[in-house]
């Protein structure tokens, strides 16, 4: 007879539950779920190197293509550097979004996660955060290299890094909404771009303007505060849409 | 009427082509957005009628 209780366990043998206090009321382990999912996703991502290397190599290659296309003349490159880097970073993050929920959807763990009795706000936040650490953070860390390649110098290099740090967060959160909506579709990739690129307009405008004003020495506070506001807004509101999207996706 | 003759209305002092192009496009787009669903509805009803006849007889 399989024994549910473990003999030497210290589990408080739950007294008989009265009709209205059900299992869900007794325990509130929301943060431990957040932490457990974060650890799980790091294990998954770091088990195969491709996860964080691919977006980075993509960005280096596209910068190379831009340079070949525009021509090596330094002044034009530097003049367009901010816009190029931001668009390329945006595309790099967006292309990696398709895999965000797809692996979980295919092996059924997404279903098990959505069956959690606890609200899904934090678990979804954990998944997007783990994905950001693997795609957004490497871009921020490598951004000085992009600056050198395109002739950005001086104070603009840390500005680009800070801008990308804030902006990549917004890109991940908004992109995760589109990823959650298209996870059940075979042709998800392109549809994610079509859905979410219009929402990226403010990030591109304020992000590249932030770097541009750093290059030309203008005051940075206006664009910086907008980037911070965009990050806070998307971090707080996006999970709600993502949960709706995931529940719809497994509903199929 | 502001314009004295039809031809003046057509030319509109040089801007006629732009103005009539804009209004022509509006006629086409707004007209299509009304006619296409109307036709689709009639076709769907005919299909239902045909389907029900085939069941009855």
């Amino acid at each position: 007879m399989p024994d549910f209780t473990v003999s030497d366990s210290t589990i408080p043998d739950p007294t008989v539950l009265s009709r209205n206090t059900k299992l869900s009321d007794q325990y509130r382990p929301v943060f431990s779920i957040f932490y457990a999912l974060l650890v799980r996703d790091f294990h998954v991502y770091f088990r195969h190197r491709g996860a964080w290397l691919n977006p980075l190599t993509f960005i280096f290659m596209v910068i190379l293509l831009f340079t070949l296309g525009i021509g090596p003349n330094a002044t034009t490159l530097t003049a367009n550097a901010a816009g190029i880097i931001w668009v390329v970073a945006l595309l790099g993050i967006m292309l990696s979004l398709d895999a965000l929920f797809r692996a979980d959807y295919d092996d059924g763990s997404l279903e098990q996660l959505l069956l959690s009795p606890e609200p899904l706000y934090l678990p979804v936040m954990a998944k997007v955060l783990a994905h950001w650490v693997v795609t957004g953070l490497p871009i921020v860390v490598a951004s000085p290299l992009f600056s050198l390649m395109l002739g950005i110098s001086g104070k603009a290099i840390p500005a680009l890094a800070l801008g990308l740090l804030l902006g990549s967060g917004v890109l991940s959160f908004l992109g995760a909404i589109a990823a959650s909506l298209t996870v059940s579709l075979r042709s998800g990739g392109l549809l994610i771009a079509l859905l979410i690129l219009p929402m990226y307009v403010p990030v591109i405008i304020f992000g590249s303007q932030f770097v541009q004003s750093a290059i030309e020495g203008w005051p940075l506070t206006a664009t910086l505060s907008m980037l911070v506001a965009l990050l806070i807004g998307s971090a707080v509101l996006a999970p709600l849409a993502i949960i709706g999207g995931l529940r719809m996706s497994i509903d199929g | 009427m502001y314009f004295t003759s039809i031809s003046e209305l057509w030319h509109m002092a040089g801007h006629g082509s732009y103005v009539w192009a804009a209004y022509g496009a509006s006629l086409i787009v707004l007209g299509a957005s009304l006619l296409m669903p109307a036709r689709a509805y009639r076709r769907q009803l005919r299909m239902i009628k045909a389907q029900s006849n085939s069941i009855d007889d």
Partner: protein, 260 residues
């Protein structure tokens, strides 16, 4: 069927009978006038059954009849249905948390990540679905997980990546959850597939004990199951065509739904 009075010194599945006597005859799970469509094909309509504590039901139907759909509807994974499902008297469409806190669902997909090891797979699942285990120390928690893996004969593979295991072994990682679970309601979709002989016997014993302690089970299975006390829900009985159903269920489903 445990009496509705205090349960005997049975194990601590939080038994269904409660302080004020919940009549064991009062159904916990009620499914009423359920209608499901797949594309524009009507799967079933007017499906109806209810489960009291200790009841099991087996859903039968040929492939494509909607067995999995029915299980996913009851589990709350699918919202595309007309009709009413209540758990402890609460409509499951609006009160999903109450149902999911007391339900374990095992679908076709075992929900096992191939990159992780069985232990890691169980760990994150246990944190999400069996919070009471998380209450104690880390070592104790890991010990419980290893014990569950041992019961399904995977203790030797606890630290091997799942993609090195066979399909049957990966499914057993999913089944190990049953040994950790204290959910009253089990919904198992084809639990016996890809498992060897003694695995099946062990699982049948586990399910019958679950029922003995006042748990409920909804199962689909192609093989014969020798567990007594199982009702049968044959989908073919509820199969009708559109003509006479839409008119009649269209209204009834709305009326009932509005009350819960």
């Amino acid at each position: 069927m445990p009496t509705s009075s205090e349960t005997a010194a049975g194990p601590s599945i939080h038994s269904i009978s409660s302080t004020e006597p919940l009549l064991s005859s009062q159904p916990l799970l009620v499914v009423d006038s359920l209608l499901c469509e797949r594309g524009d094909r009507l799967l079933f309509a007017g499906l109806k059954f209810d489960l009291v504590a200790g009841d099991g039901i087996r859903v039968e139907g040929e492939n494509g009849a909607g067995k999995t759909t029915l299980l996913r509807v009851i589990a709350g994974l699918t919202q595309q249905y007309e009709g009413l499902i209540t758990w402890r008297g609460l409509g499951t469409r609006r009160n999903r948390g109450e149902l999911h806190a007391e339900m374990l669902y095992l679908g076709h997909l075992a929900g096992v990540k191939a990159v992780l090891t069985p232990l890691e797979n169980l760990r994150w699942w246990a944190v999400v679905h069996t919070p009471h285990l998380k209450e104690q120390s880390k070592v104790q928690f890991t010990h419980l997980l290893l014990q569950a893996l041992d019961k399904v004969g995977l203790s030797r593979f606890a630290h091997a990546a799942c993609h090195t295991l066979s399909a049957g072994q990966q499914r057993r990682v999913g089944l190990a959850r049953l040994y950790l679970s204290r959910h009253p309601l089990w919904i198992l979709d084809e639990p016996f597939t890809a498992i060897d002989r003694n695995g099946i016997e062990q699982l049948e014993a586990l399910i019958s004990d679950h029922l003995a302690q006042g748990g409920l089970a909804i199962i689909t299975s192609h093989q014969a199951m020798n567990i007594e006390g199982f009702d049968r829900c044959i989908l073919a009985d509820y199969k009708t065509d559109y003509a006479n159903t839409l008119e009649q269920t269209d209204n009834s489903a709305f009326e009932i739904e509005a009350q819960y």
